[in-house]
């Protein structure tokens, strides 16, 4: 679905990147901690996060993340928005929770990225069969 539609279905607002409203969003990853994002996000995956810090934009740059959705009504500072603008990364903000945001996008056809963690619960005897 297009960036514009993403913003609409989650009652969000495009804060940066109005000119990219036709950008196609087909994969997403949701996390608040940046190392989790760095561990699992693959190329061209949109980031859904409740963390607002300049480092979120840095991580998005590193991973070529096409767009960021800030959830839970978190307001990025002007400095963060300037960073995003400079990096050419569209920003959407929504009051919805992470769970709701993910649920709505999933039901609209947005899918997870394929990367899986290096550690595996199925290899661990602490978990029952």
């Amino acid at each position: 679905m297009k960036l514009e539609e993403v913003a609409r279905v989650i009652d969000g607002k495009i804060l940066i990147g109005e000119e990219k409203k036709d950008l196609e969003i087909d994969k997403a990853y949701a996390a608040d901690l940046l190392s989790d994002v760095l561990a699992l996000t693959e190329e061209s995956t949109t980031l859904i996060t409740g963390t607002v810090s300049p480092q979120v934009i840095r991580v998005a740059e590193i991973l070529n993340i096409p767009a960021i959705i800030f959830v839970r009504g978190k307001k990025p500072t002007q400095k963060i928005l300037d960073y995003a603008k400079e990096a050419g990364i569209p920003i959407i903000a929504t009051n919805k929770t992470m769970f709701e945001t993910c649920g709505i996008l999933y039901s609209n056809g947005v899918r997870p990225c394929r990367n899986r963690p290096a550690t595996n619960i199925h290899d661990d005897s602490r978990y029952c069969e």
């Binding site: 760095l38 996060t49 480092q55 840095r58 740059e61 070529n64 400095k79 550690t119």
Partner: protein, 157 residues
């Protein structure tokens, strides 16, 4: 921020960054600059991605946990060599800090998105060679190498 950019030989270059402790307004800038420089020099996208992740995690650890340090990135035809050095406090139990999920990040760092305890494991997973050495009271050295495989194959032909 970048204190040196020396071209010692034709196909070799080196970037050195001073990393200040607790400096959250600029934290991550060194890694962003590494990425931009590698792109400028036409390094393979996959190599850039791995090197950027390594640099970012190492840079943030220096900001969060140390009295400051340096990030040194050296590039040649074969590889990218990354050295993160800090002035302490050093790490007592290396095995423990390498455990995925282990973190001593303070509460306020979580607000910025840090404290998953995945930084060092991420560095290791993205490195072809990974070494960590530390002396309590002195400091820590994290050393990573990422090979530019495609180039190696070309070179062998």
């Amino acid at each position: 921020m970048m204190i040196q950019d020396t071209v010692s030989e034709t196909n070799k270059f080196r970037f050195v960054y001073l990393i200040k402790p607790r400096d959250f307004s600029n934290a991550g800038d060194a890694s962003a600059n590494v990425k931009a420089e590698l792109q400028k020099h036409g390094i393979e996208p996959d190599v850039i991605r791995r090197v950027s992740i390594i640099c970012f995690e190492a840079e943030m650890n220096i900001v969060l946990y140390t009295k400051g340090g340096k990030l040194i990135v050296e590039v040649d035809d074969q590889k990218v060599d990354i050295l993160a050095l800090d002035k302490g406090p050093g790490i007592e139990d290396i095995e423990l800090v390498m455990t995925p999920g282990y973190s001593t990040a303070p509460e306020w760092a979580l607000e910025y998105g840090f404290g998953a305890g995945m930084g060092l494991p991420n560095i290791k997973n993205n490195s072809d060679v990974f070494e960590i050495e530390s002396e309590v009271g002195k400091g820590t050295i994290v050393h990573s190498i990422v090979y530019r495989r495609k180039n190696e194959i070309k070179g062998n032909n």
